[in-house]
Structures are given as structure tokens and as C-alpha cells.
């Protein structure tokens, strides 16, 4: 659950971008950071390997200001998508309030998406969290690649494979270009705040 300090009037929300390796999680955060740097006045922390892959996690914190007397702080993380970092992925999920699952639309990655979603479910279960209950948004990334003739999965197929049981909001997006990147983020923040409000009632 979100960190709430009633005395200091502070609400801290943790959002994690999850998904298969090279799916565009870091690109989402980089786009937000680059595009809104002037407005959110923050720095992004990224620890990368030699091959430009996420080693530990990326971290983008920002404040959205005071609402109903509370300072709302959003902390966005990505997890490393590579094989050997499951322990890190699990660690990053500790205390998570909302998840954006960044699925890769490339046809050749369909198996990876499914495996990654199952992996998310398992890792959440380790913290007694249920994937069916936690605020979750699906993002079908890399839709722009069809321009280059790269075979993509139809969105209907991705919905069927990934979202037929979850039935959560989903966005077609291109993190590289910026399509639906902010919308995805806004949606997950709103869902987390909604869930927080319900829990506090």
C-alpha cells in the first residue's frame, strides 16, 4: 500500500513498469523525463550495463503538488527484463502500488509477453499481492514498428492473450515516439489514487 504520513501530510505512490526485456520500459520513463523535465523538475536515475540494458532499475520520482492538503509524490521504477535478474525484479516490486505492463507488440515476442506476465503474477504473489486486484494497465508498445514492415501482433490477439482474464485498461503505444506514454502513466496514477481512496474509506 502507498506510504502515507498523516503527520507530515505526505502520500508516496510507487509505480513499476514491468515487462519482457527490450520491451520499452526504460524508453517510457525516458520519454516522460525528457518531455516533461521542465514541468516536473526532476532527474531520472538509470543504471545500465555496457550494452545499454537496465542493470538494476530506473527511477523517476516527481511531485504532483498538494492535493487536499497532502503532498503527493510519485515514484516510478522499471525492472530489468533480462533473464538473470528475477531477484531484482522481485525486489523492485516490494511495496508497489500500481503496475504498467509494457508488452512488446512484435510478433516474435508474444511468448515473452506471456511468460513475463506470468512472472509478474508469481513475483506479486511473493508479496501476497494478487495480479487481479492490484491497479494494472497494459501497454502494447512498439506499434510504430509496422511502418518498417516488422510483423506485429494484432491488438485483438494481444488482448486475447494477455487481457481476457485481467480486463484492465490497455493502450496501444509507441514509447519511442511518445504515443500514449503520458496517457498510460496518467491512467495508472489515477487507478492507484482511486484504489487508495477506496482503502481509506
Amino acid at each position: 500500500m502507498s506510504f502515507i504520513n498523516v503527520k507530515k501530510k505526505l502520500v508516496q505512490v510507487k509505480i513499476v513498469y514491468y515487462g519482457p526485456g527490450r520491451g520499452g520500459k526504460t524508453t517510457n520513463l525516458e520519454y516522460i523525463h525528457k518531455k516533461f523535465r521542465e514541468r516536473i523538475k526532476t532527474e531520472m536515475v538509470a543504471i545500465k550495463t555496457h550494452g545499454d540494458r537496465t542493470l538494476f532499475f530506473d527511477f523517476l520520482p516527481f511531485d504532483i503538488g498538494k492535493i487536499k492538503g497532502y503532498d503527493i509524490k510519485i515514484q516510478m521504477y522499471t525492472v530489468p527484463g533480462q533473464v538473470k535478474y528475477n531477484a531484482t525484479r522481485r525486489l523492485v516490486l516490494r511495496g508497489v502500488d500500481g503496475i504498467v505492463f509494457v508488452a512488446d507488440s512484435m510478433k516474435v515476442r508474444q511468448e515473452k509477453n506471456i511468460l513475463s506476465l506470468r512472472n509478474l503474477q508469481e513475483n506479486l504473489a511473493a508479496y501476497q499481492k494478487d495480479i487481479f486486484k492490484i491497479p494494472l494497465v497494459l501497454q502494447y508498445n512498439k506499434r510504430d514498428l509496422s511502418e518498417q514492415g516488422i510483423p506485429l501482433l494484432p491488438v485483438e490477439t494481444m488482448e486475447r492473450q494477455l487481457n481476457s482474464k485481467l480486463r484492465v485498461p490497455s493502450f496501444e503505444a509507441s514509447a519511442l515516439v511518445g504515443t500514449n506514454v503520458a496517457n498510460t502513466m496518467k491512467k495508472i496514477i489515477l487507478m492507484v489514487m482511486d484504489s487508495l481512496q477506496k482503502e481509506l474509506k
Partner: protein, 274 residues
Amino acid sequence: MVKDSEGTLVGEVESRLEDLFGGGDEVPGAGGNEGESGEFFVREGVGVYAGDEKGDFPSGEPDDSPEFIEDADFLDDSKTLRYLESVVLSIDWEISDETMGELIAEAERLKGIYGHDKTLVILFQLLGSVGKYLKSNKGGAHPDSISLLNSIYATLEKVILSKGMTDAERKRELFVQVNKFKQLKEEIRLTKGGAGKRRKVSSPGIPEPLTREVVKEAVIEEESRKAIREAASSDVGHMLPHEAFAFALEEIKEVIKAEFKALRAELKLWRDGQ
């Protein structure tokens, strides 16, 4: 959800987010995988799923799942390789006993199907060996082992699906993979080398245990050398000069290695006799 929350915490957050991030998303330009309306889809789900029939999750199966290929025509090479491809792709995400077991079994099965083709048999053997190494070492495996696995798979696909490939070209592809395999083996040996060398010094004369895996690797190496030698003798006329040179170099290296091995054995015998 949000529209109903006007005046609530969520409503205020929404308006704040609009101030901060409004107009931030790029409108999809010309091209892109757009919907019929020309816009990227945004699907509103029902929020948090509250049903009780969750069943198998995620519910979808990839189109290349084993269930799907059961009906496949096994004479069609691209279909024969589909399951192997999906297993290889899934390994990039998670190395589990289950996945690696599937890979090893599939490599073995395909080795049987393509038993008449020496080049393919060796490639499947290489794939199986790297699979076994990954299965036993998992996260601690050498980082290049997964790229080698992908590279062997890509070569298999190329060799099987490129119908017009000459024998020389096929052997050349095999040669590249065998060299990569040997290089990785050497790197792994060097990584473990320090401790191994110290152990040898402290206990001279004790023969290194020849494990089943070492024997198998030796067999693969021997078979691949044989295949390369065969290729060199039968296809040398079709080779480019630098390829012929590379094959010749490989042969010379093998001769020198064999000579050194024999010398070492002689020395060992001599030492033991002292």
C-alpha cells in the same frame, strides 16, 4: 471511474495530471499501426477484475505453442522449427528447468528428424550442449551463452529454410558456430582457470576426471572437425581463398594440438616413471 470522481481526491489528481502532462503524448502521425479510425486505440477495461473464474492465466496461448503445432505438417520445415523457436525465445526471459528441459528434448527430437543431415545433427548437438550448460548453471552461466544459443538457432533456421544453400555454405555456417562454441568453452575454462590450475599444481599426477559432459563435448568437437574436414576436402574447389586458408589453418592447428597432446602424455609417463 474518473469522471464519477469529480471533486474527490481522484478528480483533483486528474486535473493536476492534466496540468502537468496534458498534451504530452504524440499524436500518431502518418503511418504507425493505426486503427481503422486512424487513431491509436485506448481500451478501457473494467478496472480491477472481480470475477471468480480466473482459470489459467494469462489465458492466451501464443500461436506457436506446442498445441498449435500439433496439427502442423512436419514435412514443412518452418513449422517443424516453430516450437524450438518459441522455446529459444522464451529462454531470453527466464531460464527454468522446465524451459531448458523442453529445449534439450526438442533439440534431441529434431536431431532424430534431421538425422540424415550431418551439418544439422551437429548444430542440434551444439544447441543441446549449450542448453545443458545453461540448465545446470542458470543465472551463473556465462553471459555469452544465451547469445550463442540464439546464434546457433538462427544458423539452424538459415540452413534448414534456405533451400538454395550449397553444401559449402552450410558447412561454413557450421564452422562459424563450432568456433563460437569453442571460444565460449575456452572463456568458461579461463574464468574457472585460476583455481583449477592451483589444484593441478598441488596434486600432480592425478588425472583430471573425464566427466560425461566433457566426453560429449569431445565427441561433438570430433564430429564437427570431421564435418569440417569433409567439407574442406569435398568443397575446397568452391571455396573462396580466405575460406580455404581458414580450413587449412584449422587443420594445422589440429595437428599441432594432437602433437602437443601426445608430447604431454609422453612427459607424464616419463614423470610417473621417475
